[in-house]
Structure formats: C-alpha cells, structure tokens
C-alpha cells in the first residue's frame, strides 16, 4: 500500500523525523484557509501516488493565502500520469541550502533492508546511481543484527557530510527512518530531498512510503489511510490494462501472465487480465467479469484455469452464477479447465448448455478460440 506524501510525513512525524508544518486541502478555499493559518509563504503540493508531479505542474510556491487559493485551483483536477489530483498538501515553504537523499528499502535479492544515501538529492536517484555511483552510499542492514549506530556513521562519512551539526541530525534521522521502516512493516521509505536549511536544520521535504499489505492487520491506523476513492476495489482487482480485445482471467499471477503471452503468441491482442487468485467462487468471478467488461474494447473472454487449491467445479459454478447475475450475452466466453476437479467442472458447464460458453481442452487451443471469437 502506497501512502500519499502527507500520510508518509505524518508517520515521519510520529517517529520523530522533522517535517514542515502543513495542512490538507481538497478545495481552493481550504487551501486559502490553510495558508492563512500557517502564515508566510507556502508550497501547494498535489497529492498523487506517482512521481514526476513537479514537472507536471503539481507543486507551486504561493506567497500569500490568496495566491495559495489560486495555485490550488490550478492544481486540483490536474491529470498527472493518469492520476487526477483531488488533494493538496499546503506546507510552510522552506529555504533550501542543500538537498540530500535517504531511503531504506527491501532488497529482495539480498533478503536484507538496504539503506541508500547521497548528498546529491533532489534529482531522480537513478540518475545519481548511473552518472555518479560513488556518490551513492549503499549499505545493507543484517536483520539479525538490527540497526546499530555505526550504520548511520558509515552512511554519513561515506557520503562526505562534514558538518558535525548536520552529522548529528542525519544520524538521528537515519535511526528513526529505520525504526519507521521496521515498525510500520514498510517495503520502502524514501526521503527525497532531505534538505538542509540555510540555518543548518535538516528535514524531510518529501516522503515516499510503501507498507506491506500483508502486515496491515498490525497497523489499523495505517490501513485507515487507504484512499478508498482512488482505490476502486474493482480497479485493484484488475491487475493490468492492455490495449486489445481479448479479456483474460486466470488463476495465479504466473498463469495469468502466461495466458496473456499465449494470446499474443497466437496473434491475438489481450485487452486486460485479472487473477482469480486462490478463489474461484461466484463472487470472485462476478468481480472479474465486471472488471473485464468495463473495457469497451473487449470482444471475447478467456478463462484459463489450472486447479490446485482452486477447484475447477467451483469455478464452473462461479461462472454460471455470474451469468445469472450479469448480462454477458454479448460476450463469447472460452473456458479451459484443468487440474483439481477439472472433469466435474467441465461436466457442470456442459450440462448448463449456455450458448456463449466455449469449452476448450488446452491453454493454446483456448487462446486460439478466444482470438478467433474476438475477430468475429
């Protein structure tokens, strides 16, 4: 689960990482009130779960509350890489002397958390990694050792931070960021830029914070931060949108992706795909079909199911139940069932005798049939 900047900063604040004071605003009026309350110049920042908002015009300085209101009007409703801006973070403007970068992320390969720190922050970190790799200090933390103070020292001295006043503040932020990472079950926490003000104060000017969905049960406060408007449950269900005319539904991410490949391989154009997961009950199938058919380009649908923990008879019943609830008469549905209880599943579909259900014996044949039906 990705958090908005303002939510990540709220967590930073709880863990003692310095951030600027700010207010959330959803209208220009709220932006004006927020700026008025904060006093002085503010920055109006689009809250979207994607990068590049600065270049897209989503971050603007406002000298007065009226200016903040105007800037808020400009930014609200902007479309930034497909994300429509509905929330703004109005924050006291900071003077910036230096911009650093600090993150800790899950390194799957090493199976350890990885710190990255550089004094060349504020830009895209990939660029630093590529153009000036020595300037980017990388350091793993052994989970059996846990965080130890020397880790902060290695980062700070490694990156060449010389000012003892900065060193002290950054060491404290490094330790707190690690605590935030572990205690919030985060997959990533990133501060870019971590600024130094002309007065020598170090603070987080932005936040990227991703929390492990599987651990949200331990963090009801974070779970509540989920933006239910932005995260349509059907949208999250549909894993990926493509651009063709065959809707694909598999069980398991691997098989679903592979089905997309095979449809493409036999000359078809996948429209989208979704993963039934371990389930396959009527509820899941209805959700899947709703998502798939939302896309007006879809002409045919291919269910490719290999039962394991999923039982094919249950999926077959799920498909029939879904056809009772949704009007699917416009869509030919190719169904391939194999694995656990496949015989029973095939029999159930055969006995139902639905005219728009086309059973196929193999993945390859199913893909061919679906492509053929989409072209009709």
């Amino acid at each position: 689960m990705d958090l908005y900047e303002y939510q990540g900063k709220e967590l930073f604040r709880r863990f003692g990482i310095p951030v600027s004071e700010g207010r959330l605003a959803e209208t220009p009026e709220e932006a004006l009130a927020a700026a008025d309350e904060l006093g002085g110049p503010v920055v109006v920042k689009a809250q979207v779960l994607t990068g590049g908002r600065g270049k897209a015009g989503g971050v603007k300085l406002a000298e007065t509350p009226e200016d903040a209101e105007a800037k808020a009007s400009d930014i609200l409703g902007l479309d930034i890489k497909g994300h429509v801006v509905r929330r703004l973070w109005i924050e006291k403007a900071s003077d910036i002397a230096k911009e650093y970068y600090l993150s800790i992320a899950f390194d799957r390969g090493a199976k350890q958390p990885l710190f990255m720190f550089t004094t060349q922050g504020g830009v895209e970190i990939e660029q630093v990694a590529e153009e000036n790799p020595d300037a980017l200090v990388r350091l793993h933390v052994d989970p059996l050792e846990g965080f130890q103070p020397w880790v902060a020292r290695r980062l700070i001295y490694g990156a060449g931070v010389d000012d003892p006043n900065e060193q002290k503040q950054i060491a404290s932020i490094v330790e707190k960021l690690y605590r935030a990472f572990v205690e919030s079950d985060a997959m990533l926490t990133e501060i870019n830029p971590l600024i130094v003000t002309p007065e020598g104060e170090v603070k987080a000017l932005d936040s990227k914070f991703t929390v492990d969905d599987n651990a949200l049960f331990r963090h009801p406060d974070i779970a509540e931060m989920r933006d239910t408007e932005a995260a349509d449950p059907l949208e999250t269900f549909a894993r990926e949108k493509l651009d063709g005319d065959v809707g694909i539904c598999g069980n398991g991410a691997g098989l679903s992706m592979s089905t997309v490949d095979v449809v493409a391989h036999v000359g078809g154009r996948p429209a989208n795909f979704c993963d039934l997961g371990g389930g396959g009950d009527a509820e899941g199938v209805v959700d899947a079909l709703e998502v798939i058919t939302r896309d007006p380009q879809v002409k045919s649908i291919f269910f490719n199911i290999f039962g394991g923990i999923t039982r094919c008879d249950e999926v077959a019943r799920g498909i029939l139940a879904a056809l009772d609830r949704l009007d699917m008469s416009a869509y030919p549905i190719v169904v391939r069932l194999d694995g656990t209880n496949a015989e029973a599943g095939r029999r159930i579909l055969a006995e139902a005798g639905k005219p728009n259900i086309y059973p196929e014996a193999t993945m390859l044949e199913g893909a061919r049939k679906a492509v053929e039906l989409a072209k009709k």
């Binding site: 493509l242 999923t310 390859l364």
Partner: protein, 292 residues
C-alpha cells in the same frame, strides 16, 4: 533419490485440524506421503483419520519421529510455526500459507538459514517427488515419474508446464514451487544446486516471471556451476512495464526485470528460453530425446 521430499520424509502437518490442512494433509497421505503427525495447540491427543495430533512440534518430533513440516497455519501465526519447527529439530519446512508479513520472513530467514534448515515458501504450492512423496497442494495426478527437475516461482504455471510435459510423455524427479513472496526460504539457486547433485535428475526446467533479478542470478549459477542442462520459461512477455517500487526499487536489483531482458540474460548463459509453456515443453522433449 529426488530432492527435498522422498520416501524418507516423515511429515508433520502444522495446522492439520484446519480445513485446508486437513484436506491437503489427507490428500498428501493418500498419495503415499508418510504423514506421521499433526500439530494444533490445544488439540493434542486427538487424531485426524488416524494421524495423531500434538500440541507442539517438539512432541511430534519426539513421539512420532517427524523430520519434515508442512505449514498450513494462518498468515499471522505462520512464522511462529516455522520457528517452532526449526527449534524442535525439523530439518525441512514447507510453508504454503500466503500473505505472510514480509518483515517477519526477513528476520526469520537468516535465522533458520544459520541453522542449516531447508525452507520452501511461504506462499508456495509445495514440493512433489512423483512416486515418492507429495508435500503441499500440488495436484499430483498431472505429474508422472521421470528425470526432469522443475522449479518455479509460480504455482498454477508450474502445473501448466508439468501438464504439458506429461502430455509429451515426460516425467519429473521433483517439482518445487519456491513461492513468489519478497523473502522465500529457498531461491532458484538453492534448488538448482540440489538438482545438480541429484542422481535422478537429468535436466531442469526453471519457470520464472517478470520482476526482480532472481532468474538472472540463477542463470549465472547455471553457467558457472551446473553440468546438467537447464531450460527456462519466463511469464510476462506481453505485460506492460510494471509499477516500480519507488525509485529505490529499480536501482536495487540492477535489472530492468522485463521478460525480454531476462530471456536475453538467460540465453547469454546458455539457457534455452521458451516463449509459451507449450514451446518450452517441446524444447525439453527434444533435449530429453537427444539425451535418451
């Protein structure tokens, strides 16, 4: 001898009295796996169709001689169950449970690794050595005995490829689903190393997916350390560029993670890569025929 599970496996099912544990535990036994015990705290003294249930894994080891554990415990208790098994002296732990918090596995992984324990999963379909033992949820009926090792990050895709092999008359020594979680107990390399050492395995199929750089690392291992041929399938050639985990994510793995990039990296290490399950099965059939 196959790998990880075989005729010497003496299985304890942690969570045997739950619905999934019971269903698959009994299926595993019906297949011929030596299921010697179940563990459910508070249900010690009961039995599940003759399989004795204990309160603790320690008792399952001392009373029933268990040496391998199958974990069907709910996600928030699953890592505790793994620790319990490891500290009770279980040498092989196979965890099916999905949705295990990543940080818990992050801490547990180096611990049981340091103890020399073999762990598979979590969030995996398990391990099947056809004709010997099935530990987990893999539908055994679609596989047959043979000399092809199969290792995969994906559950259902493993079945698909196993099924395609079976259709071509090819059987497996062992099928290992390593699971797709951020931290899993055994990597591709861990399993490839075992296949290399296994007398019954002549050839290995590695089934990968887009994302990360596990397949690339495994390819390096194959090139440097393996004498047996390895073929591969990567799912996701038509997938759009995935969401990256912030900017840090992309730098960490040092890999673009696309199927095409993986295919190229694997081929550079001498691994043939099929673009569909059917194609990889045919490639295996050709190689196996050439070796027969």
């Amino acid at each position: 001898m196959a790998i990880i599970v075989d005729n010497d496996t003496r299985l304890v099912v942690q969570g045997l009295t739950g619905s999934e544990g019971r269903f698959h535990g009994l299926r595993n036994r019906a297949y011929g796996t030596n299921v010697v015990a179940g563990v459910t705290p508070g249900k010690g003294g009961q039995d599940v169709e003759g399989i004795p249930v204990f309160d603790t894994v320690a008792e399952a080891v001392s009373e029933a001689g268990a040496n391998t554990s199958l974990v069907f415990v709910p996600a928030r208790f699953a890592v505790d169950a793994v620790y319990e098994a490891v500290d009770a002296g279980i040498g092989t732990v196979i965890a099916i449970t999905e949705h295990v918090p990543a940080h818990e596995m992050l801490r547990a992984y180096p611990y049981f690794r340091g103890k020399g324990v073999t762990m598979i999963g979590p969030n995996c379909p398990g391990v099947l050595s056809p004709g010997k033992a099935n530990v987990g949820i893999i539908p055994a009926e679609i596989f047959s005995e043979g000399s092809i090792g199969l290792v995969s990050r994906s559950g259902t895709l493993t079945y698909q490829i196993g099924h395609e092999l079976t259709q071509l008359g090819l059987g497996n020594s062992t099928i290992v689903g390593i699971g797709g979680d951020p931290v899993v107990g055994s990597s591709f390399i861990d399993v490839l190393e075992r296949f290399e050492a296994d007398d019954e395995t002549d050839l290995v199929v590695m089934v990968g997916e887009i994302g990360g750089d596990e397949e690339e690392k495994a390819a390096g291992f194959v090139q440097e350390r393996m004498s047996k041929p390895v073929l591969s399938y990567i799912a996701g050639f038509s997938a759009p560029p995935g969401k990256t985990m912030g900017h840090a994510g992309a730098i960490i793995s040092g890999s673009s993670g696309t199927a095409q990039a993986k295919k190229e990296a694997l081929e550079a290490c001498g691994i043939e890569v099929g673009t569909t399950p059917t194609e990889v099965a045919q490639m295996v059939a050709e190689r196996a025929g050439a070796r027969a």
